[in-house]
Amino acid sequence: MILLFILIALNAFFLNLVLPWWSMILPGLFFGQRFRETPLTAFIVGFLAVFVAWSVHATVINHLNEGVLSARIAETFGVEQAWILIAITGVIGGVMSGIATMTRALFAQAQAKK
């Protein structure tokens, strides 16, 4: 489980540097059945891995920027605090990855029971 988490998080992070935003689904699709997780665990691990990868990435950027931009964008979107933007960032990446990982696990399950 931990290995899956690490594989997804690292790969999602690096793929995102060269590919468009949706690239975070690729590690989950690729590794999603490798450790025979249940679909629910697959979703949770896939979600947490990219949630962490994206929110840490955003946190580092935000820190280096001294929060100048996140404060403005938070106001644009009518949210109170900059950390909410970081959370939204993590959730968007996490949910997409979680669904991808779960989809792959469900596919593997269906194949196995055929």
């Binding site: 280096l64 403005r72 009518g78």
Partner: protein
Amino acid sequence: MNYLKFALSLALGVILFWVLQTRWGNIPPMGPFMDPDEGFWANAESSESASSDFSIDGLKDSVQVYFDDRRVPHVFAQNDYDLYYMQGYLQARDRLFQMEMQTYDAAGRLSEIIGPSLLERDKQTRRWGMVYGAEQAVAEVQKHEPSWTIFEAYSAGVNAFISSLEPQDYPLEYKLIDISPEPWTPLKTALLLKNMTRTLAAGNSDVAHSNTLAYFGEEFMEQFFDRDYDLLDPVIPSTRVWDFDRVPVEAPDTLFVPRQAKSVNPFPVPEGIGSNNWAVSGEKTASGYPILSNDPHLRLTLPSIWYEMQLHAPGVNTYGVTLLGAPGVVIGFNEQVAWGVTNVASDVLDWYEIQFQDERLEAYWHDKQWKQTTKRVEEYKVRGQGLVTDTVVYTHHGPVTQVQAGNEEEAPVYHAMRWIAHEPSNEIRAFYQLNRAQNYHDYVEALTHYQAPAQNFVFASQDGDIALWVNGRFPNKWDGQGRTVSDGTDPLYDWQSWIPREHHPHIKNPPRGFVSSANQESAAPDYPYYMDDVYAPFERGRRINDRLSDLDNITKEDMQELLMDNYSYHASEILPEMLGWLERDSLGGVALEIADSLGAWNFYNEAEYRSPSVFRNWWYELSRGILSDEYDAQVPLRFPARDRLMQQLKESPNFWMVDNMTTDRVESIEEITTQAFLGAIEALSEQYGDWSDAWDWGWVMDNHVPHLTQTNGLGTDALYSGGGAESVNATRGTSGPSWRMIVELGPELKAWGVYPGGPSGNPGSSNYDSMVEAWRTGQLYELKFYRKAPTNDDVKWSIYP
């Protein structure tokens, strides 16, 4: 069963992908927008760029760019082509979105990127012939080879930057709106200049003036709109002798009476657009050399309308502020001379009532014959809606707009517009030559290429000359021509000729030792030509002239103080009278206290005073009380200017409009003034609570700088500061001094400046609003004007072709 679960999960993923990939209303596609590598996070700048060496295709030779401690770029090029190429490159790098947005607006293309909500604005833009005018300008520029080269070099530089961008590098606003940059063209530069003409030289009240004349009669118009009363202090002083005979112009015997119309100006000029400039001669300065000062008042936005630069190449070394999208320095100086601008409110936009032969709008009556129209089909690729077309009819006057008749059952009225923006012109050539001017002669020659928007060009040189030309292209009109809607069938209403350049109001080295302008009338009533009757009220111009007359041994600090001068001539002229009319016996408690504090006020619009807030509201209520009952028509009417109404009240306080027509009794000025006073206190209490510091003018005036697109979060907070529309420091809400500059000429030319913004257009940069606080508090930065390439610790780019 298991495949069904898989299929559902897959479908959920696909749907979510689609939701996150799509723009919903004004919400950007959240997937790409929140992506930490490619979305808005990528615009969060983390560090200053360091010195670097790199190459850009398209340069002819190597170029160095130095960024000083305020990140102002100083370009050192080997030839003109590279100089303007780099200007384009750097402006795009810092302000690309602004450049594109301004030209989308000027081209009537906003609906392409925003959607149907802006289609009406776009149609108005095209019906005003903005693109037509820009095309005329491009054709004119192409006739002058050196100018065309600059346009092309500039465009190539912008495009070199655009082509270096990947989607993650796009400025933040592109990601918010979900669009990509498109290539720059010389037409866009022309459009940008036409946009300035629309901002500064599209003011007109022809329809309202005609309606008002029909409603109130001639005597009223003379009383309130003919401008020759004592307080006026024109740009060119009344001592100037006009030793020429005017070029004659034939006027109609009787003034045309148009059909009443409800035309609403779609691009109203917000009050607060205006400017100050002045130059004092060496006889009045401590250094013995002239000092020049300028602060153009415009709508304030982030990013700022201006971009500060130094441009150095063989034959030119100039510094100042540039417009985003136009090559050259617009307001600034070089080693020998300095110049600045304020707007001239001459009437260069007139409306003509057109008689068409029939509904096909193919022929119109003019000069006793039917003349053919031309038609221009305008296409709009509206985002989310597809192609929309609109046919605009052109007469020899210009494009035709259909307006609503005064009475809704009547057939519509057609108005053709004659506008200076449609004349072929090449303003960039004027700036190109000004940037290189060595003396008064060069300055005058440069100005001959400048047509619109007309400006008061103030000038000072190291030779010791000071001068001011009211400069632009002005139609030679008969008295009052174009104040009202004109007769489109009668050639006597056409613009028959132009005022010859040598007859323009201008002055050089006047005996009083200074020249100045503040958008007031260009010359005294004895000036032989009619230019307009709508100019800025007298207050700023008179205050500047008063101060400059009084001052001697002038230093930069004196000029800085005058730029920040908050004195209100308006209040000092009328407040004592208003307090005199106030029925104190009927006041109680706080109202009496407020009246007393007004009596002790020194007439300065300082941020920490409450009196300016009370006075402004009181004056507003008083004007409304006097005018609103008489101004009760179903068509747009023209209101007397602030200073004109004030003058009328001083001369005869109980003139006929003071009485409230809707009551049976005759009200006196005392009653109306007291009602207005109580009304003002009530209005302020409602908005700001009890009489307290919350009434401070600094808050009530509500100075702040919003983002160009008014997007929340991308502008500044409230900027507590003094000033006022009638003060030299003409801040007012979201318009005001967009660039404050002082230049002290001499062997060691020194200059200072500030604008309410920063060099970067990126809201994720600390340089986005880095000068706002200095601007708010009236500080100026000393400008680093390098005579030769510096050897300091500036960030340096060495760029190779």
